[in-house]
């Protein structure tokens, strides 16, 4: 376009507005003068590595326009005033040389990149897992609290047919040594008679021992052992009758007495909790 304007003969002075100072309402302080660009000396010894390293030797003048009928109309060094940084420090050594094909080293560079990514992710996964597990375990009960939450009971101290009350986690705990007759009665109970149907076998680990929480399921009173119409427990507050397996048989309570988790260490000891 510029060359077309330059070669249009007699019209050229009229078509290139930039060559003349156009009088306007605002007068510029410095009149527009076309400054001839400096001659640039290109250092031929400097290695021409890549486009970026060219910035060290390319012309640094602004746009220069020359108008001549026979010559080229204008040479514009596009954006040569912008300094492009040299990234060769950040490039991998395999791709420093622009003459070499980068495909030859692509395999090792790619593997290295993935290896670094994978290793960083492994570290991240490990750290995340450690942080989460530490945080979650900090919310669980500490060892002294766990030790307090267990109770060890010597069963030989409880005579047959008797019920003993222990304190466990702030609540009364009934341990009942049943007689053969009681065991036979409770196993024979028809499930359809029960309000909260549960077989006696499901409530005990050893049929001789019934271990239940001494909290009435109605409103939380402590039942009285060996009382009531069914020979088990009787709640004095509102008259709930439990049988010798701790199951509700009569009265307002909706559920059987709760059976905590317990295990027999040996014939003589049981650990509740």
């Amino acid at each position: 376009m510029m060359s077309l304007a330059a070669r249009s003969g007699a019209f050229s002075p009229y078509m290139q507005a930039t060559a003349f100072v156009v009088p306007g309402p605002l007068k510029s302080l410095i009149p527009g003068v076309v400054v001839k660009g400096e001659t640039i000396l290109v250092d031929p010894k400097k290695p021409f590595l890549c486009r970026e390293s060219l910035s060290g030797q390319s012309p640094k003048t602004g746009p220069a326009v020359t108008v001549c009928i026979n010559g080229c109309a204008g040479v514009r060094f596009a954006h040569t005033d912008i300094r492009i940084p040299d990234y060769s420090d950040y490039r991998r050594p395999e791709v420093q040389d622009p003459q070499k094909s980068s495909q030859d080293s692509s395999e090792s560079r790619r593997t290295f990149s993935y290896l670094v990514t994978g290793a960083a992710t492994v570290m991240g996964v490990y750290s995340a897992k450690t942080v989460v597990s530490q945080f979650v375990s900090s919310m669980s009960a500490s060892a002294d609290v766990l030790a307090m939450s267990k109770i060890q009971i010597k069963l030989s101290e409880i005579p047959e047919g008797n019920n003993m009350t222990f304190k466990w986690r702030g609540k009364p705990l009934f341990v009942r040594h049943r007689t053969e007759k009681e065991i036979a009665t409770e196993t024979a109970v028809n499930l359809s008679e029960l309000r909260d149907p549960e077989h006696d076998k499901d409530r005990v680990k050893d049929p001789a021992w019934v271990i239940v929480l001494g909290v009435c399921t109605h409103l939380g009173c402590v039942p009285i052992a060996n009382a009531g119409e069914f020979g088990g427990y009787y709640c004095p507050c509102h008259g709930s009758h439990y049988d010798a397996s701790g199951r509700i048989r009569k009265g307002p309570a909706p559920l059987n007495l709760e059976v905590p988790f317990y295990e027999f260490l040996d014939e003589d000891t049981v650990v509740v909790g």
């Binding site: 090792s108 593997t111 993935y114 994978g118 992710t121 490990y126 897992k129």
Partner: protein
């Protein structure tokens, strides 16, 4: 070179195998790192931990 190539093709090429590699690597790394740290700690505190001096007290009780 062939090793890196086979590692890349086997483990890193697919995202699925890459993820599995990371998970397995995390488990392996956790074991090595934790047990290594534990071993270093015990080495530095040799003779001070309860499990190192426990036998002294057990012998006294038996006598």
């Amino acid at each position: 070179m062939s090793l890196t190539k086979s590692v890349y093709n086997l483990l890193f090429r697919r995202t699925s195998t890459f993820a599995i590699t990371i998970m397995v690597g995390a488990v392996v790394f956790e074991r090595i790192f934790d047990q290594g740290g534990e071993a270093v700690f015990e080495q530095m505190n040799r003779g001070k931990l309860w499990k190192h001096i426990k036998h002294n007290y057990e012998n006294k009780e038996e006598e």
